[in-house]
């Protein structure tokens, strides 16, 4: 009883021109789908935030207008956006390494703080050397090593002690915060003063210099952009990048390929911590010019959201970070112009993440 004899593979794999053509039309189609998804996500976010604004009794259009005006309305506000973008992007870039290998580096907050602490230590130590450039340079190194050290502790707790990196990170965040408070109230207090408002500002020559008229430090901007490109290169063209991805997707199998998951976890933490530490350094040298308890500005937690929203993609993360920076800077207009609570910007950021995840989940479900 033979029927329908002779099924055949539907695609002729040797005909390469056909495949190229097909891939082209496929990529066009997928590009269109992506645009559609983007618009859909935006619509959901837009509706949700508008609803929240209405509930808060605010005119939504005016609120959006003021947020825009306050972030991209002038070169000066744009400068402030970039100033926020730099540390946020540095942290996000670092988190891409740890997410790649499947680690939740919640400790990034503490890593920023330790970067700031180490940088401050260096700047205080070198304040009277009369070598401002040398000292600032050393402070970069100190910041990076401070953040990296803090990350490595979490890494060791994970690889040697089996402590979940989320709990280790949270714990270390508290320790770092405590250390900063102790330093500010204790050894690094201003003479005769005990205030949580921070240490004595550094001498002017140890500030990261800004572009005249703008509030952007070129050195910080260069470092952030450099970090993006370097990370992209490392992830794409080096063994480290591929190894991180392999271990992140299946650590067990990666061992069969001769990879050591623990070493790579430490390596990823080292990168993430180093970049977060650099962000801490820039917070200290470029923005506040002193150490204060809230030195991390919550950029670590914000960066976690940025990277998730960017779907762990190195090119998307800076864009999302830029958008978050706009929200952060622009939202100060809400209380100033509309007498609204500026924490609404946090609500907008949160709903953005939720809406994106919802649309993605919906898409995955539909594709099945």
């Amino acid at each position: 009883m033979l029927m329908n004899w002779g099924g055949r593979l539907p695609v002729n794999v040797t005909d390469s021109s056909k495949i190229n053509q097909m891939q082209l039309s496929k990529s066009l189609l997928s590009g269109f789908k992506l645009l559609l998804n983007g618009l859909l996500t935006l619509t959901v976010v837009f509706c949700f935030t508008t609803l929240i604004l209405l509930i808060a009794g605010a005119p939504p259009l005016a609120a959006y207008y003021h947020i825009f005006k306050g972030s991209l309305g002038s070169w000066i506000t744009f400068g402030h956006v970039v100033k926020t973008w730099i540390p946020l992007t540095l942290c996000s870039t670092g988190l891409i390494y740890t997410f790649r290998i499947g680690l939740w580096n919640i400790g990034v907050e503490g890593q920023i703080m330790m970067g700031a602490v180490f940088s401050t230590a260096m700047l205080r130590w070198g304040a009277d050397w009369n070598q401002p450039f040398g000292v600032i340079g050393l402070a970069y190194g100190a910041g990076i090593s401070g953040g990296a050290m803090w990350a490595i502790i979490a890494g060791f707790l994970k690889t040697k002690g089996g402590v979940n990196e989320i709990f280790a990170g949270l714990g270390l965040n508290f320790v770092a915060q405590g250390l900063i408070l102790w330093l500010i109230f204790g050894p690094w207090r201003r003479p005769g003063v005990a205030s949580m408002s921070g240490t004595e500002p550094f001498p002017y020559e140890l500030w990261l210099s800004n572009w005249p008229g703008l509030r952007i430090a070129p050195a910080g901007l260069a470092l952030a952009i450099g970090a993006i490109f370097l990370t992209a290169l490392i992830l794409k063209y080096t063994r480290i990048g591929l190894n991180l991805k392999a271990i992140g997707n299946n650590a067990q199998a990666a061992r069969l390929f001769g990879l050591n998951p623990k070493h790579h976890m430490l390596l990823a933490m080292l990168f993430a911590g180093g970049l977060a530490g650099l962000a801490g350094n820039i917070q200290v040298t470029g923005i506040y010019h002193r150490l204060l308890p809230a030195i991390s500005s919550n950029y670590g937690y914000l960066a976690l959201m940025v990277v998730m929203l960017a779907n762990y993609n190195i090119w998307a993360a800076p864009l999302v970070a830029f958008f978050f920076a706009c929200l952060n800077v622009g939202s100060i207009q809400l209380p100033m112009a509309l007498r609204l609570d500026s924490s609404l910007s946090g609500v907008i950021q949160g709903s953005l993440v939720l809406a994106t995840l919802a649309v993605q989940a919906w898409r995955v479900k539909r594709n099945k």
């Binding site: 259009l61 959006y64 109230f185 003063v193 005990a194 408002s197 991390s296 993609n313 209380p335």
Partner: protein
Amino acid sequence: MFKKGKSALFIGIVLCIVCGVAAGLGMAAEKPFTFGLLLVGPYNDHGYSQAHFEGGQYVEQKVPGTKMIYIDKVNPADRPGITITQLVDDMAGKGAKLIIANSDDMKDGVREAARLHPKVHFIHISGDDVLTGKAPKNLSNLFGRMEYGKMMAGFVAALSTKSGKIGYLGPLVNEETRRLAASCYLGARYAWEKVLKKNPADLKFKVTWIGFWFNIPGVTLDPTQVAQNFFNSGYDVVASGIDTTENLVVAKQKQQAGKYARAIPYDYKGACKGAGDVCLGVPYFNWGPSFVNLIKSSQEGKWKSQWLWLGPDWKDINNEDASTIGFAAGPALAADAKAKLDAFVKDLGTGKTELFKGPLHYQNGDLFIKEGSKATDKQIWYMKQLLKGMEGPSSAK
């Protein structure tokens, strides 16, 4: 993975486009004399920041054609990532010609912002940049001689305590807070020794610093807890040096629980409201008149960089059109105590009673003001320690 990344990229791009559309909906505004107010706490904190806020409203009322813009909760804990420079940029962008920053904490930021905006006038409340010569020409300092208010607070505290133990809820430690705590102590000691004729050694006056002007959970001590501790360890009057009114709330609880408890809040005239039965009175700032003067001089081109330390109007310390500081007696203040207070205020005004007068000693026994001489403004402003007889740290260890 890469595909999904692209979608996020798209989101980013499209969001920017949306922002662009929003920009098209411009809004026109007329141009009054705009002044900005940077408040360290909430504008409705029943304390320090609200006093400034109402000072700003007073200006809008009294000087036609002025408009206030303000931003409150300007501190790194409430608004992470925000800098003074950024806020000043924003306010200047909105046309502010004069900006008032109300916290000691903003000292460095205001100085930096003043350098960046030479055409905008700045008033830094409580600062001393003009005194120290660090201030650029467009920056002035303004403060009220709250020392007198604190003396009155100490005075009524000593008259009202039954246990002879007065607690002082201190904010952070700096020159300002030291001299205010010391003034409070001087007022209390005067009442104890000269009015009640008691032995000064029996008067306990303890200062506990929480670490900031108001409670920041996890960062400062909890002022509610500190006030509780005072009342629980025999202190029956707690005077506040912080911007918020935890001591009143706790005192009220204790009073309702059947204990004798009295509190003195700080900064804001209306602070006693709602807590009448425990509130002895409040030393307060009345910023309106001085704001009006400075804004008028800025409008009329008569601005000059100056350091102003304005006292009460002794004719009527509660005259809201003239007196920079005042003391509003609270409903819990006994009638005879009130009478004694009035006499005390009168003597202060005429100079008959002078509390910063030698001999005064620092906490560690060093001589502060020698016998027979009066302290100068600078000596008071830059006090190094608490005074002998006060408990609590003079500075951070």
